[in-house]
């Protein structure tokens, strides 16, 4: 009985003590998220969303800032767009790479249908305007000169057999094909409904829902489906196993990558804009696909891929 009483008394004390210790000592909870530049200078925290291209872009921005007089900290893989945006607005991060079209669809109170904006410029201007009106205000910087939009890809064997090169031909053939899609795409006005509206012959034999991008590609490879939806800069598209369908009617919104920074950060450190713009301007579609491929196909680390790229371009040395 005596031992047990001691145990009773010791337990709460032990627990409180240990948890306080852990809370104080351990900031690091693992995962591919945090990394600190280690430089001196004002700390700028760069966030990112939860897929490969975001990890690379986020790393790039953080490392570029780090080499230019700031302490660039990367907090990658925060989650979906609304989550990254929340981190931005509540000050946990100072900026993160977004896409012009995505911001209109998932974050900003845009009243129209982003698919109706008929140029990348118009899309950017609409987003920039709405971002500036927020509180706290944000600035969407100059977008990169390439469009990371939806890509409808078909297994090469199927595309060859049925002679499919564009969405029209795909729509005609769709009765015999299985489409691997994701929930958001199926239900969003700029997604599958958009496809059906513009290519009315579309009528897939079966539509499977796989919410994870990487898994959609796996699914296609393993034969679970013939057609899938991904994004035009996906690394997997460098493979000759897949063919991206051309979109002659240009039905998708424009999704150009552009960093979104809180305006108060820019006001305090105007140099940030210049550094970020230099990185953004250097990018292109093929480059991005290649970089994505290094992570997704060759299993390299996003941070390393970013570093190599920046060194190659002379942005850092």
């Amino acid at each position: 009985m005596k031992n047990r009483t001691k145990l009773i008394r010791a337990v709460p004390a032990l627990l409180t003590g240990l948890s306080l210790l852990l809370v104080v000592a351990c900031g690091n909870v693992g995962g591919t998220d945090s990394s600190s530049g280690g430089s001196s200078g004002p700390t700028i925290t760069v966030g990112s969303k939860d897929f490969t291209e975001q990890f690379i872009l986020g790393s790039m921005y953080a490392q570029a800032l780090d080499a230019n007089g700031f302490n660039g900290v990367a907090k990658l893989d925060l989650g979906s767009a609304p989550i990254a945006d929340k981190a931005l607005q509540n000050g946990q991060i100072d900026l993160y790479p977004e896409y012009t079209g995505t911001s209109l669809v998932e974050i900003l109170p845009y009243k129209g249908n982003p698919a109706d904006l008929n140029s990348p410029r118009a899309t950017y201007e609409a987003a920039k305007k709405l971002y500036a009106k927020r509180s706290p205000a944000d600035k969407m910087l100059t977008p990169a000169p390439f469009n990371n939009t939806y890509g409808i890809f078909v297994r090469s064997s199927v595309a060859e057999k049925d002679d499919l090169t564009n969405m029209d031909e795909l729509a005609q053939d769709s009765k015999n094909l299985t489409f691997i899609s994701f929930s958001q795409f199926q239900n969003r006005s700029d997604g599958y409904p958009n496809m059906q509206k513009n290519y009315p012959a579309l009528d897939f034999e079966e539509i499977k829902i796989v919410n994870n991008l990487g898994l959609r590609y796996s699914g296609l490879q393993s034969g679970e489906g013939d057609v899938g939806v991904g994004f035009t800069t996906d690394g997997q598209l460098t493979s000759d196993q897949l063919v991206v369908m051309e979109d002659p009617k240009s039905i998708w919104p424009f999704y150009h990558p552009a960093p979104v920074v809180r305006s108060d950060v820019l006001k305090k450190y105007p140099k940030v804009e210049k550094v970020l713009n230099e990185v953004t301007a250097s990018l292109g579609l093929d480059t991005m696909r290649e970089l994505n491929g290094k992570v997704d196909l060759d299993q390299e680390d996003p941070e390393d891929v970013a570093k190599e790229y920046l060194e190659e371009k002379g942005i850092i040395d």
């Binding site: 989650g79 979906s80 767009a81 609304p82 989550i83 998932e106 974050i107 994701f182 929930s183 958001q184 199926q186 239900n187 499977k208 829902i209 796989v210 919410n211 994870n212 898994l215 959609r216 796996s218 699914g219 393993s222 679970e224």
Partner: protein
């Protein structure tokens, strides 16, 4: 917001998600019962067998659901079937533990008396052991059922479908309606499962045991 949530339920793909979720849970449960019960029956009279079964069950119970679902991915691929296998594996432990324990703990004296009366092993099983163990067995099935409904939410991560798809979709939305619709649907399903299997448990509790339980023995 309530109307927006109801709108999600009215979506054409909602019944399918619901159906996927129910089928995943139900089939996993039934197969788990089909695997666990025979094992429990086989070891009911051996102390070593029971100990092994119960220990395996305990260890199995500690395994994180996401871990098994994720492991199914490289081994079995994406999709409904993989998720089903993983969920079945996860559903077995509570049933195995309870069935084994329940059958073992039928009072030895009662069994001896029955043997003395000339009942065969099979008759003892059917007329004495199973009825007495029934409440415990059904409690195990109930626990497993509720746990499986919850775990089936994670099937979305390996392309297995179900209401988890809705919740994940909701993560990328500005407003919480789609997410909440998915969450509420799962919660209601879990509650229905809990209540439904609870009723089943009571239905299979022999009257004599019910009276004994009421008296607090």
């Amino acid at each position: 917001m309530l109307s927006n949530i109801l709108e999600v339920f009215a979506r054409p793909d909602f019944p399918e998600k619901l159906r996927e979720h129910v089928v995943l849970s139900l089939v996993a449960l039934l197969v788990a019962v089909a695997i666990a019960m025979p094992v429990a029956l086989m070891i009911r009279n051996t102390r070593l067998g029971a100990a092994i079964a119960i220990n395996i069950g305990n260890v199995g119970r500690a395994v994180p659901s996401l871990a098994i679902l994720a492991l199914a991915l490289p081994l079995l691929g994406i999709g409904f079937a993989s998720a089903l296998v993983a969920l079945t594996a996860l559903a077995i432990p509570p049933i195995l533990i309870n069935a084994s324990t329940g059958l073992r703990e039928v009072n030895k004296d009662v069994i001896d008396a029955a043997r003395g009366m000339g009942l065969s092993g099979g008759q003892i099983l059917a007329r004495i052991q199973l009825p007495i163990a029934a409440p415990v067995i059904f409690a195990g099935i109930r626990t497993s059922a509720v746990q499986t409904v919850a775990s089936a939410t994670l099937a979305t991560f390996i392309g297995g479908g179900g209401l988890g798809d809705l919740i994940v979709e909701g993560y990328s939305e500005r407003g919480p309606e789609i997410l909440l619709a998915g969450a509420i649907a799962v919660a209601i399903l879990a509650i229905i499962t809990e209540v439904g299997f609870g009723a089943l448990e009571r239905a299979f509790t022999p009257k004599g045991l019910k009276i004994a339980q009421k008296r607090g023995r």
